[in-house]
């Protein structure tokens, strides 16, 4: 469950709170959202005076006695399966219309702060085309940060849109992340164009050191190729300049490319360019394309079956691995990769988007495999079960 709908009761404003499945005797001050999955759970409500004071909302299953809610705002009639997915420590955002969004999922490696819908590029395969920002987006993210458990969070991504469009506010957010979540690696997903401004790059580096890691998309070895994919002329040289600033500062940076008909044919020159011009990057991720948004719209122009480019991908991976630039493969099921590069694959598809097809049932390596995007319109035609590794 990433989001669910229920019947709203007494909700006037959006509510954000930390999920709890048991009402504690004492509260730690953070607003709580109590999961009521069985009628008995309501019985202790009148006796938990201290936690009552910070109880922001209830999330309940069907057929609960509403009179026992005691006037606390609630979303009722959620399915038992949906409620069962919620864990203590999750953070949910509840809208007055009964929409419940899981903003943070405890224990998941895929949590992120979504900081803007705006972007300064328009990539041909963008799964989520740019849009205007809702007014309260910033406040929501700051509130979410405050609700996280500093001892528990080990990684958090900042993504968008293009986060650097926030300017100084991004620097502030990164600083806040580092201060409030000292144990967390903060991964900022950015095209880095704005960071060709050395002062901005410096401020960001200082705010995030040593917890900040940047992942930057680079789609080609020349401006001709990269700018075409990014849909923005000049973006290649902006990014290259920014990457050299970041290297000078000592800011760890990884690169990513998305594999499709515009990038795959020149994947080896791309790897060569990285080694000769950006040898300081700490990893290069080759990502499978999520066929939604603009990728779906441009599917005829972009789609390649991963199975058909597996040799080219393997060659680029080998090329970088030989040169001590760590390559990684994201968003690819293991069975479409050549065996020697499977160790480079990472289980990267967000849990709620992850899909395994019926053919995967008998696969011996399903445990290590990230599956395919459940959100896309197209998957490889060559999925097949593998023997256990």
């Amino acid at each position: 469950m990433r989001e669910a709908f229920g019947r709203p009761l007494g909700l006037k404003v959006p509510v954000m709170g930390v999920v709890t499945t048991r009402l504690p005797w004492r509260s730690r001050g953070k607003p709580l959202v109590y999961v009521v999955d069985r009628p008995e759970a309501l019985k202790s409500l009148p006796f938990r005076l201290w936690s009552r004071r910070v109880l922001a909302a209830l999330l309940t299953g069907p057929e609960m006695t509403e009179t026992l809610f005691d006037g606390i705002p609630a979303v009722a009639d959620l399915s038992p399966a949906e409620l069962a997915e919620l864990r203590d420590g999750d953070v949910v955002l509840i809208h007055p219309n009964g929409r419940v969004i899981v903003a943070y999922q405890t224990g998941s490696p895929h949590n992120c702060l979504f900081v803007t819908y705006r972007c300064n590029c328009l990539c041909v395969m963008c799964p989520q085309p740019p849009a205007d920002d809702p007014e309260d987006l910033w406040e929501q993210n700051v509130r979410l940060l405050a609700l996280l458990d500093p001892q528990e969070v080990t990684c958090l991504a900042i993504t968008g849109g293009e986060p650097t469009l926030l300017g100084d506010r991004l620097v502030e957010l990164v600083r806040l992340c580092r201060q409030q979540l000292p144990k967390a690696t903060i991964t900022l997903l950015t095209n880095a164009r704005k960071l060709k401004n050395l002062e901005f790059a410096k401020a960001l580096f200082k705010a995030g050191y040593p917890n900040l890691f940047l992942e930057v998309p680079l789609f080609g070895a020349t401006d001709t190729e990269h700018d075409e994919v990014m849909g923005a002329r000049g973006s290649f040289w902006d990014t290259i300049q920014a990457l050299h600033h970041l290297a000078l500062l000592g800011q760890p940076v990884g690169l990513r490319t998305v594999l499709h008909a515009l990038t795959v044919p020149r994947l080896l020159p791309y790897a060569e360019f990285i080694y000769r011009n950006l040898p300081f990057v700490i990893q290069v991720a080759f990502m499978g394309m999520e066929t939604m948004g603009l990728a779906e719209k441009n599917l005829d122009r972009l789609w390649l079956d991963p199975y058909d480019y597996r040799e080219i991908l393997a060659e680029a991976v080998r090329y970088l691995h030989r040169r001590l630039v760590p390559p990684l493969i994201y968003n690819h099921p293991l069975c479409v990769l050549t065996p020697e590069v499977r160790p480079f694959a990472r289980n990267t598809i967000t849990t709620w988007k992850q899909l395994y097809l019926p053919i995967c049932e008998t696969c011996g390596q399903r445990g290590e495999c990230g599956g395919v995007f459940g959100t896309g319109v197209k998957v490889s035609a060559h999925l097949k079960p593998l023997p256990p590794s």
Binding site: T222, I240, Q241, R323
Partner: protein, 488 residues
């Protein structure tokens, strides 16, 4: 602009195979068919074609912006010339000229075993350390040479002690190597080397028949058996990889290169450095010309054959590196600077490394010291007992050497496509051709490096995956399995 694209600076020339080699200012190369090269120059390439994008990605041309390409090339050029940033890191100290061996080709002008006039004094040693620790280089390597360095071991100890004492303040990355023929090694000396973290550099010419032919004791007889015995002892105390040998290839050993390589494999050495003999010192004497001297073309021929043999060994599971190829391949294939004193531009002599003679005289390299020993003090930089650090390292002779060793402006080098991978040796030019600048068409140095670089480039152009795996195992100092990604 009427042309569809702008050519960026690069050098070019045909390879032996007839294909055209293009190398840019940052050392990136591309090998083109002559027909394509002509089309490039005639502005006939189609923008957006695969060849066009290859050339553009490596910055041989651009059809969009010029300024950012120049900036990027500048950054890469600076990276390649990084060896200049830190100044002198390798400090060779000749602690004595005395030696218990009398190798026929000795470069080092070794002297009688008991004539202590040829020893470095403690006072000179202290002044040497003082100069060494004045170097701005954050990483200092002190190499003890001779004669045989073990014959004046008290001075070795003095230098180690003094350097470490001064380093408590200087906090440099300090390391020591002692060069010895191993024959005088004792358990006491080994215990000391172990305690102080000092490694050994030694000489091994090949199997017994080859080694003993020229590496003989002053008391008579070969040194091979003693070498083997003490090698085992040294490895036992210091660790297997702490003893590294060099081979001297003479005319009479060149035909047996594979036997020499096999000997290195048999003794489980990590690598071998195949280098031609230096005709300095005793190696110049008439008596041995027949057994030493060979035309450089003969060395190149043997080298190529040997390199292929070593690659084959690696693919059979024997992890032996060829260290000269490793240096050149690093230059060709990586964006980084490579520290190799003998082949830099400007020359590494004096800048990357320097030699302190037993009497405190300072020379830019060992060859310059040999010349002085033969009576020509042309490259004398100063003396540690009389001159200051600054006087020595900014001496007129040092400035002249730098001036005349930038391949970018040397006749014959200035337009050579191999320039970024090569270097200059003004001292050798002077010794062989009587002039620091030298004359490339008759230079052995040029002939050797050109031939070997071209050979390596043709191997790279073939792009055989197995060979490339071996090369990258050498460059990145990993096993074949790791390079292939099997070991993770």
């Amino acid at each position: 602009m009427t042309e569809p694209y702008v050519l960026m600076p690069f050098r070019f020339g045909p390879l032996p195979s007839g294909r055209m080699l293009l190398v840019n200012e940052a050392g990136e190369f591309l090998i083109l068919e002559p027909r394509d090269f002509t089309r490039l120059l005639d502005y006939e390439l189609t923008p957006g074609s695969s060849l066009f994008l290859d050339l553009k990605a490596k910055h041989f041309l651009t059809d969009t912006q010029v300024a950012p390409v120049v900036n990027l090339l500048a950054t890469k050029y600076r990276t390649k010339k990084g060896f200049l940033k830190n100044f002198t890191g390798l400090h060779i100290v000749v602690v004595t000229l005395r030696c218990n061996q009398r190798c026929h080709y000795c470069h080092a002008s070794s002297q009688d075993m008991y004539d202590t006039r040829w020893d470095m004094s403690v006072k000179t040693a202290r002044n040497v350390v003082d100069k060494i620790m004045s170097s701005p280089c954050p990483s200092i390597k002190i190499e003890f040479q001779g004669g045989d360095a073990l014959l004046n071991f008290e001075v070795v100890k003095t230098i180690v002690r003094e350097a470490k004492r001064l380093n408590q303040k200087a906090k440099k990355d300090l390391s020591f190597v002692v060069c010895t023929n191993l024959t005088l090694l004792t358990p006491e000396i080994l215990a000391y080397l172990k305690r102080e973290g000092i490694t050994i550099s030694t000489s091994l010419d090949g199997p017994r028949e080859i080694h003993d032919r020229h590496r003989v004791l002053r008391t008579g007889g070969g040194s091979y058996d003693l070498f083997l015995k003490n090698l085992a002892l040294a490895r036992q105390v210091l660790g297997h990889d702490q003893v590294n040998p060099l081979a001297t290839l003479t005319r009479d050993s060149l035909p047996y290169l594979t036997d020499i390589i096999d000997e290195y494999v048999r003794l489980q050495f990590r690598g071998i450095f195949l280098r031609n003999i230096n005709l300095y010192g005793y190696a110049r004497s008439e008596r041995y010309q027949e057994s030493f001297r060979y035309p450089i073309s003969e060395f190149v021929k043997a080298y190529k054959k040997a390199l292929l043999y070593i690659i084959e060994l690696n693919l059979k599971g024997v992890p032996l590196t060829e260290d000269f190829a490793t240096i050149l391949l690093s230059r060709i294939l990586t964006p980084f600077s490579t520290g190799f004193m003998d082949l830099q531009s400007p020359t590494g002599a004096g800048i990357a490394g320097v030699v302190y003679d037993f009497n405190g005289d300072v020379y830019p390299c060992d060859e310059a010291r040999m010349l002085a020993k033969m009576g020509d003090r042309r490259f004398y930089m100063g003396n540690v007992n009389r001159d200051s650090y600054l006087d020595i390292f900014t001496s007129p002779v040092m400035q002249e050497i730098v001036n005349k060793s930038c391949v970018e402006i040397l006749p014959g080098c200035h337009s050579c496509p191999l320039q970024m991978y090569c270097g200059a040796d003004p001292i050798r030019n002077y010794a062989m051709q009587g002039d620091l600048v030298g004359f490339r068409p008759t230079s052995d140095f040029c002939e050797k490096h050109k031939a070997i670089l071209e050979f390596l480039l043709e191997l790279l152009a073939d792009n055989h995956p197995e060979v490339m795996d071996v090369f990258w195992a050498w460059i990145t100092n990993r096993s074949l399995a790791e390079v292939r990604g099997i070991c993770r």
